[in-house]
Subunit: 210 residues, 4 copies
């Protein structure tokens, strides 16, 4: 009992799992093949062998479908990799600079991976224009990652590698902001060297003054 009755939304208990999967697959495939702009809901439905209404019943927009498909993709990848639970965590070897370089280099690789590039650029673009979707994008995809940085930097602050008065939210953006800038705006190539330089410059700015 005790469902949110009265809202008269569709009954998610009776939802077809096979359709959901087919829609995720079709959406990601199409975005990869023809790009986000030329991906259509009709196209996704046709490719998934699904009625249009089945998409409209469960998602409010094309962007929302893709966002969920993308999240699902990440989940599956994590489940496959992590075996189970802990999924992602920034390593803590005690050497903050080395740890951040490792992570940011991995981030650079992911950003340059053509498989992820098309859908994530599309989602970012859509999120920039559409505040609603952008909030969901940020909440579900971005913030979990950013919190990992905050945690690692917090640990470093405890350990004395970062000044006490540093605002961690600003600090982490000092690290990821430059990378995002280069990726989104394609100003210059996004390389490991760039990631290293960002870490070095930024960390020195955050370190305790002698």
């Amino acid at each position: 009992m005790a469902e949110t009755r009265g809202t008269s939304g569709p009954d998610s208990a009776r939802r077809s799992e096979r359709s959901r999967r087919a829609i995720y697959d079709a959406a990601l495939t199409l975005v990869g093949e023809v790009g986000y702009g030329r991906t259509t809901i009709e196209g996704i439905a046709a490719r998934a062998g699904v009625g249009k209404q089945t998409i409209y019943r469960w998602w409010p927009s094309k962007g929302a479908v893709l966002l969920e498909a993308f999240l699902d993709l990440g989940d599956r990848a994590a489940r496959a990799a992590g075996g189970g639970e802990a999924a992602y965590e920034i390593p803590d070897t005690g050497d903050l600079e080395a740890d951040l370089k490792t992570v940011l280099r991995a981030t650079v690789d992911e950003m340059n991976d053509p498989v992820y590039e098309a859908p994530s650029r599309a989602l970012a673009a859509e999120g920039i224009a559409d505040a609603e979707l952008g909030a969901e994008f940020t909440r579900k995809l971005l913030e979990p990652s950013l919190r990992l940085y905050a945690r690692r930097l917090g640990a470093a602050r405890e350990a004395g590698a970062v000044r006490r008065e540093i605002d961690l939210d600003v600090a982490l953006e000092l690290l990821v902001g430059p990378l995002a800038h280069r990726w989104l705006l394609r100003t210059l190539p996004l390389t490991h060297e760039y990631a290293d330089a960002v870490v070095e410059y930024a960390l020195y700015g955050l370190a305790p003054r002698p």
Copy 2:
């Protein structure tokens, strides 16, 4: 030298200046009124009192129209303000930190100005998704501004306020990257305090080691 001969495009010498202006105005107005997504080429044409073909003849896409309209807006503003020439320059009072705070605070204000927000977010989003347009966006709008930072930082490096080995392209992204990040992804409010903090943290990272 040679004109782009043989491409046999339309004859820009015979182009109607009045139509161009009307299209810029209509485009900006509509984006302001109904947003970029609901702005259509048909709508721009109608509002401008212009045939659709006159738009398609001179621009390849809605985004391109808006980009030019936006550039033109900037030009006109600059011409009105600067009286003539020098236009934009980052001040150099000798105090790098103060100068950068001034500029980044102004940038924050501009990013928060609802008049500029709609079209520039739309352009950024479009440029992220469409590499072609993105390149033009970067080249015409972004790079000129970024070069000003590079120049100011170069002067600071000469003056000994920045380490010799610092890569200026990385340094400037350490400053603007975090701002762009917050603006584009709406993670947290974009305030003067944030700009100040970014400048402080970053500059300390760039300063000569004692």
Copy 3:
């Protein structure tokens, strides 16, 4: 037997009868109001309160729409008039000349009726230029009428009022050809007297030689 299977055209079982009717009405009204040339598919759709695609889904051209609308008009008129079935038949009073004069005079009246004139001229013109449409026009509108003449002339031949060796297809065109000629090419006024003269001259040519 077999339906046209595999062609995967639209499913006519799900066709909206109300749209069909509205389109017929709009088409006929518009042709009456502004003429065939200035009647557009867009106009028909707007007037009928229907999407353009609903027209393009079911008809290949403006002419085809009007032809069906016209046929439907005839059907409805026939159904209203005839009460049911027998509809049109050339009378057979035994006096061939009188019977033909009656029918041809009625035809003249119809041709001169401004209500029918606009659409039927338009259809004739379209059919002359477009062989495909012309065939349909002929098959659905013209031939049924012409067969009535053939039947009546056949009866007359049995009765000895027409020579045995006369080719009925030629004979009937001797009657209707001149009327059509005058109507289509507007050489001279199309009157009852003209119809009578045609019948007299032609019948004398077909009658048994003394």
Copy 4:
């Protein structure tokens, strides 16, 4: 003096003959190649190497261009054939039936000639729909031919081969109406046998009663 001054139309004395010819040629060629419906004024102008305005200056419509082009074609053909003047005349060997069969068989051949078919069908269709153009079509192309029939039939009436009271305008339509009918409406093949039958049936109807 005494020009039609004040009408301020273009000065036909300064008209470019080479353009006129090029336009005729282009028009006829295009109608032959793509049909009348897909022939456009822009297309004619481009093909003729002529500005659009040069067409609009001298003709009111596409149909008018084609009509003149067609008349000119006839004129040139006649001039080439007739050597000079008399051009067309229905022969008068004293045998009306034979003479008419000769002429109508030639007419049948012309109607079946694919070179003439496209433009003349187009003109006929246009003339049927557009009364203005139709009148010009009839006056310039049709009536001259029909008058030849009237003359020949008049001679026959003088010679006693046609009844005195016969109306020649009706009589000639008894001959050409059936042919036009078959040609325009494509009811049945248009053959020499058909022409012969029409002549026989019709003439018997016109002949003096024994």
